[in-house]
Symmetry: C2
Subunit: 171 residues, 2 copies
Amino acid sequence: MDAQTCLRTLRAVRQFRDEPVPDDVLNDILEAARWSGSAKNTQPWQFVVVRNRDTLTQLSRLGQYAGHLARAALAIVILTHGDAFDAGRVAQNMMLAAHAQGVGSCIAWIFPQQSALQLLHAPSGYQVSAAISFGYPAPVVRKTIEGQPLERVLSSMGRKSLSDLVHYESF
Amino acid sequence: MDAQTCLRTLRAVRQFRDEPVPDDVLNDILEAARWSGSAKNTQPWQFVVVRNRDTLTQLSRLGQYAGHLARAALAIVILTHGDAFDAGRVAQNMMLAAHAQGVGSCIAWIFPQQSALQLLHAPSGYQVSAAISFGYPAPVVRKTIEGQPLERVLSSMGRKSLSDLVHYESF
């Protein structure tokens, strides 16, 4: 997939087929993560790849809208020391790398953090910046999140126009 | 450029040729920004495109390592209400879209924030998440940042190996 198409067509995918993500695709996702930039090249992240169904199910209960983790082929949990901007950059790289291979993804916000950190045996000092579900998109998509209509959960549908977002020289 | 190459080869570029970035390339960068995902699709960002040399110079003085802004063809300042993770996602999308067109970029951290917000006439309630320089890479690259050797400014050179970053099932 060309880069421009990949950047413009990535969308959150919450419903997945029951089909594993091959190791070479996982490797592509992790290589994209590894090459992400970070402030002063601190590379302030560690990644935990979870395929165990029981662990995925337990993670899916840690967060109001984290249910998609239970149905994912795998999840990657991003651990940092609190570097949210860099965590966003690396998350984006992973999701784009997956999308380029036809694999969907969705970010889950995890809380309580401490339960996830214990579950993953993370050393002290780490935070869970995000857990990302990965899997091949389901052929039929329900227009709900955790049983609620999309419009009730999301702040908006679609994207704002450039004229609502962009200013020239000053605001 | 294919997506995988784009994701693996993006690097910070701090030195630029004296050559404008065409409007269609800027539009690609802004479209990639517009289509970025965000928590609950809040799209919590506004973008200020700066080409005015005086404004770029003033911005370049707001931050210890922001000097590259003075030499950029343009900068895009990301204003948010403090959503650092989402700001990181949208910054990454912009930098990848630029890279796919041969345009280099570098993130600057801006402070004091208030000076930049006043300079850009930003409404109250916004923060400067980052200012990103864009321009065509200089043919000869100095291995310094603000006159200091790269190794003295950056935490590390190159990237960690996957074996230093990735854990399976638990940490």
